[in-house]
Symmetry: C2
Subunit: 115 residues, 2 copies
Amino acid sequence: MLWKIDTQSSQPLHEQLAGQVRRAIATRALVEGEKLPPAREVARGLGVNMHTVLRAFQTLRDEGLLEVRRGRGTSVAPDAQPVTRHVELARSLVSEARRAGLEDREILQLVEVQL
Amino acid sequence: MLWKIDTQSSQPLHEQLAGQVRRAIATRALVEGEKLPPAREVARGLGVNMHTVLRAFQTLRDEGLLEVRRGRGTSVAPDAQPVTRHVELARSLVSEARRAGLEDREILQLVEVQL
DNA sequence: ACCTATTTGTCCGTATGTATG
DNA sequence: CCATACATACGGACAAATAGG
């Protein structure tokens, strides 16, 4: 659990952290069911606010990678590993298409015609 | 235009062909605006039915890669090159997610949470 | 089974910076 | 240059789950 944050980067802190956790799951540095340290603890270690860490966790929960429950802590979702690959692909697709100037509707259509 | 078809493969013929054309555009073996041979001709060269070739062309037209007009022939779309990358990503995403057993709705959600 | 204290994420509000018009 | 809107990051109070006695 050796995460680092660059406060000078233009990339938001919560995104930096989310990216690192995502990669950790993809590379199996974190495995399914494994418990993460409490947000407060991670925050202290990184020198950022607890809410910044929580926000990263929330993002990953929306992506199906983490299970976050108050009082119980945060852990890697039961089927996170197979999901990670798709999430990475979805992220690449959106960022590349965005850079090319595509509208959100057009991006969704790209996927729909493949279904 | 050295395409090959494997009639023994489990992959549908029209998909095989679509994949080859897609790759040809991605690698710039085919460039924007370039005209493709008539479907009848391609079909004869590959030993398949003309409709198989047309089906592949239609798929690629839906993806924005080809312009197919009756009487005028088929050509690579004006902005096909930048599109290909996204299409490849979208195809990977869908096929990987499908293999993992995701529903279509879930696949679209993967993308939506990234928008 | 009970009460209480602790742990841990959630909710509400605020300040600051970064576009947008 | 100003006003507006939006997103980021932070702080404090709150509520669910858990652990000890």
